[in-house]
């Protein structure tokens, strides 16, 4: 998969006419997704086949030291591997055996491709097949690429799920089942399950689940509802298995969550009265929570630097539900079909950017001086030092933000830096 611009070939919607930028990017690679994927899939190990840089990236991006032996690691390539003095497949088998010796309870091992493994054309798909046979079905091996030359940040999850999707069991059942796609925290999954039950949609699977062995079957009866906006490849992989997409806005904020549940309910023929009955209370709770933040956020301007593909639904949420004014919104990649239900809700007069060229983008932030800039960890403190307020974008992936019950928490993430500016009397930010 390459980071080609799908939007250009499928026609860019009227309201979303992005400036295409090419240049230095300041984003994580797809390996970073392992940080949340390994917390979600609890019987799996993520083995990156790469360099010391890969290992250092993941431990640094996680921003934490490990408290227990982690379920991810790197098979670090050395000179011997590159010079052909060691057979990479033999070496990989040895490292896998080492992992399994330490963690015999593992049910799956993801072999994760990196920039170096892609460049030397190490065939991890082949290796996964060989190892699956060698471990005789006791441990499942799945290969995908999280390399920086092919994936940006959240696209690592997309590739992971797309690889898993190819191996999901087949079903020929005809009763429609809902498949919610994308990693969401367990607590949010439980909230969603309860609401789907109240709506009268009982047959719901979540992908990925907490056990890698507990895989939903897919077929023509599968209706897909995306919980995360960065899953274009996974969507295509599931569609090739016969599943069909329910186009919906993403479940961020009261409006987004409402639209998301209603799109699913419509697809399952649930009448509007039942929908309103089931959704009224949680929607009211979400709106009540949001109203506390509206005063703080209304009229405040923001810029988002490209990062996770969450930018578009978040910009919609901040402008429509929090009264904020988007100035520039960058996204690393725009998938017109995934975003189809979001685009009509997008505010006018926004400078949309697809791709990135870091230095000019930072110069624009400096000249516009928005009240809040949503950006990566490497850029946040430098902008703060220039008197600008920022929100680290990675927290949007590590914190539960989806659904009605998290709408207030989501607004809080953006309100806190602004409140802190008001609270501190230790010299001015600007």
């Amino acid at each position: 998969m390459t980071v080609e611009v799908i939007a250009a070939s499928t026609g860019t919607p009227e309201r979303f006419q992005p400036l295409q930028e090419r240049g230095q990017r300041a984003v994580f690679c797809g390996l970073t997704s392992i940080i949340w994927l390994h917390r979600k899939i609890q019987d799996a190990f993520f083995l990156v086949v790469g360099s010391r840089t890969c290992a250092h990236l993941i431990q640094s991006a996680a921003g934490v030291m490990i408290f227990a032996e982690p379920r991810f690691g790197t098979a670090v390539l050395g000179d011997r591997d590159l010079a052909g003095m060691a057979d990479c497949n033999d070496e990989l088998d040895r490292v896998v055996a080492q992992v399994l010796e330490r963690r015999p309870e593992l049910k799956s091992i993801f072999l994760v491709g990196s920039c170096p493994s892609e460049v030397i054309k190490l065939d991890l798909d082949n290796a996964a097949g060989r190892l699956s046979r060698a471990y005789d079905g006791q441990v499942r091996f799945v290969a995908y690429s999280g390399s920086g030359i092919e994936t940006t940040f959240t696209q690592g999850e997309d590739n992971c799920l797309a690889s898993l999707a190819a191996g999901l069991p087949v079903t020929t059942a005809t009763d429609e089942r809902l498949l919610v796609v994308g990693t969401i925290p367990d607590i949010v999954e439980d909230q969603f399950r309860r609401l789907f039950t109240q709506l009268g949609i009982g047959d719901v699977d979540f992908f990925p689940g907490s056990q890698s062995t507990d895989l939903p079957a897919v077929g023509a009866n599968t209706r897909l509802l995306l919980a995360q906006p960065f899953l274009g490849e996974t969507l295509r992989a599931l569609e090739s298995r016969g599943a069909t997409l329910i186009s919906a806005p993403f479940p961020m904020g009261a409006e987004g969550s409402d639209g998301w549940f209603r799109a699913a309910a419509d697809a399952f023929g649930i009448d509007s009265q039942t929908q309103t009955t089931a959704l009224r209370a949680p929607r009211q709770r979400a709106e009540a929570a949001l109203s506390k933040y509206r005063e703080e956020l209304t009229g405040k301007s923001f810029t988002m630097l490209p990062d996770s593909q969450l930018e578009i639904p978040l910009a919609r949420f901040l402008s429509r539900e929090c009264g904020m004014t988007p100035r520039e919104v960058g996204t690393p990649f725009f998938d017109a079909r995934v975003m189809a239900a979001e685009v009509p809700l997008l505010p006018e007069g926004v400078d949309w950017v697809e791709g990135q060229d870091l230095d000019p983008a930072l110069d624009r932030v400096r000249s516009v001086r928005p009240d809040l800039t949503v950006c990566g960890l490497g850029i946040a403190n430098p902008l703060e030092a220039e008197g600008l307020r920022t929100k680290w974008s990675i927290e949007l992936l590590f914190t539960p933000i989806q659904g009605f019950e998290q709408a207030g928490d989501l607004a809080e993430l953006f309100a806190r830096p602004l409140r802190r500016e008001q609270a501190l009397k230790v010299g001015s930010w600007s």
Binding site: R52, S147, A380, P382
Partner: protein
């Protein structure tokens, strides 16, 4: 291939970024895929830098592979120069770019930039971060001073008696351990004995400063991991002697001044270190309880070596384990360990370190942020002495490790996780008091910190041996802060003798066996 769950050092190009970020007017153009830009956050988040490190990454993608990555490098180099206008440009490959063999150094020569361009070979598949920092600093200094080599031939020390001697402080860098404060403290110390500081590099140095390096009478190799190679080259080419004693600890600071006095042929009064409080604090009676505390030391080579000496000679601890992840300094650490009657632990696998700590059961661990986690897991007190370190180890307050004030800081920092002497006594006396019981932590430690938590029995996989009622009751009479150790030692003793049950006899036999 080597299975790596966590790593003490980043790749070598992160070392190159550390040098660029430490200096003024230097820019690094790194041929690297997107994702490698994570390195920015090491500086902006861990060290709270107020600006991005001066690096431009080419961030090539799969579609660029083939002929166009070289072109991408040249375009990036050109636009980085125009945007940042640095006085010197470093160019390097990250691990992936090294495989492409675009040879950014050769490409950069064709760009015809009006500033010096220094090409670095980072050997990503065999070397690590500190090596990369050392290599970068060396090549940068050599490139800047290349033209001067023949003009300053004589040993600058000659004739220094007539004027105030000066030295360079080499090695302090961004993301080093307390470098900023060490430079302030050592500059103050040198000033107080009449020695001037000519240049500090790479930290806060510009190209003009590097050009003045040969003017000093000697080079202080403050952090050998970063500066030893450069110091050796300066010694060969400019006749500048290297001061090799790292002034970390009271004794080492004295030795450092003695070495300076010898090399610079000047007198330095012992008064220079007279203000240091560590010697008296260590001799005062309250510190008696520090005697023989079992300490495990692990870190980069510089800090492991110096801290082991402080622990043994200046705190009166017993060093029971010593190791480093710096393979470049393995020989020195091995020698130091031998002198302590130990075998050095040279490894970059934190699991091996954890095994060693849980086997040795020290009462204090001096290590990196990783050893802090290991110690916490095992319920042992810990002080951080070396990188890699957490954001909290880049404190707001002045907190050097080197020189006179550094020795004071070490005393305070290392004693803190232990139970204070008088308090230890009181804890024993009042152990049955209703408020002052087994679950009360000493007043200066928060819950869950320090040595007081009895370690959960499941931390070490010890087969359960039955404790008879009497022995269990007797065990309860032992002060709780040593009870865990008593329990483990007794079980080990019983296990080694094939006993299935422990009675009071066994308990005291074990106590006699393990007493020292």
């Amino acid at each position: 291939m080597e299975l790596t769950l966590w790593t003490y050092e980043g790749p070598p190009h992160v070392g190159a970024i550390r040098i660029a970020a430490s200096m003024r007017d230097v820019h690094l153009v790194l041929h690297a895929p997107q994702g490698d830009t994570y390195a920015d956050l090491l500086f902006t988040m861990i060290e709270r830098d107020g600006k991005r490190p001066p690096v431009t990454y080419t961030t090539f993608q799969a579609r660029d592979l083939g002929a166009s990555t070289a072109e991408k490098f040249l375009n990036t180099l050109q636009s980085a120069y125009e945007h940042h206008k640095p006085g010197l440009i470093l160019v390097a490959d990250s691990c992936t770019a090294e495989l492409l063999q675009d040879q950014p150094g050769t490409l950069a020569e064709t760009a015809g930039l009006p500033v010096p361009v220094v090409a670095l070979e980072m050997a990503a598949y065999s070397r690590k971060e500190n090596w990369g920092a050392s290599e970068t600093f060396f090549h940068l200094v050599r490139a800047v001073l290349a033209g001067q080599r023949n003009s300053v031939a004589q040993n600058p020390v000659e004739g220094s008696a007539a004027r105030r001697p000066t030295v360079n402080l080499l090695g302090p860098s961004k993301l080093g351990f307390r470098c900023r404060d060490d430079v302030v403290e050592i500059s103050r110390l040198l000033q107080s004995v009449g020695i001037g500081v000519n240049v500090v590099a790479p930290l806060d140095a510009g190209i003009a400063d590097i050009m003045r390096i040969p003017e000093a009478d000697a080079n202080v190799c403050l952090y050998p991991e970063v500066a030893l190679e450069t110091c050796a080259w300066l010694e060969r080419n400019f006749g500048q002697p290297t001061i090799r004693t790292v002034p970390l600890g009271f004794g080492a600071t004295q030795d450092f001044l003695a070495e300076l006095a010898g090399v610079l042929k000047i007198d330095i009064s012992a008064d220079a270190v007279a203000d240091c409080r560590l010697p008296w604090y260590s001799r005062s009676v309250d510190s008696t309880y520090l005697t023989g505390k079992r300490v495990f030391v692990f870190g980069d080579g510089t800090h492991a070596l110096t801290c082991a000496r402080v622990a043994q000679q200046e705190m009166g601890f017993e060093v029971v384990g010593l190791g480093t992840y710096s393979r470049e300094m393995a020989r020195d650490v091995r020698a130091a360990a031998r002198e302590l009657g130990l075998e050095a632990l040279i490894t970059d696998d934190h699991m091996v370190v954890e095994e060693a700590v849980s086997e040795l059961r020290p009462e204090l661990v001096l290590g990196t942020q990783m050893e802090r986690h290991i110690a916490k897991r095992l319920g042992i007190g810990c002080a951080v002495i070396s990188t890699p370190a957490h954001v909290q180890d880049y404190p707001a307050r002045f907190s050097p490790q080197m020189g006179v004030e550094g020795a004071n800081v070490l005393f305070d920092t290392w004693v803190h996780p232990l139970i204070m002497g008088l308090e230890e006594h009181l804890l024993h006396m009042f152990r049955d008091d209703f408020e002052f019981n087994d679950h009360a932590a000493p007043s200066h430690l928060g819950h869950g910190e320090g040595t007081l938590m009895e370690v959960e029995d499941n931390v070490i996989a010890m087969p359960r041996i039955r404790w008879e009622d009497g022995a269990e009751k007797e065990l309860k009479k032992i002060p709780f802060f040593v009870r865990g150790k008593a329990r483990r030692n007794t079980e080990r003793y019983a296990e080694e003798r094939g006993l299935t049950a422990i009675d009071i006899e066994t308990l005291y036999e074990a106590k006699a066996h393990f007493s020292r």
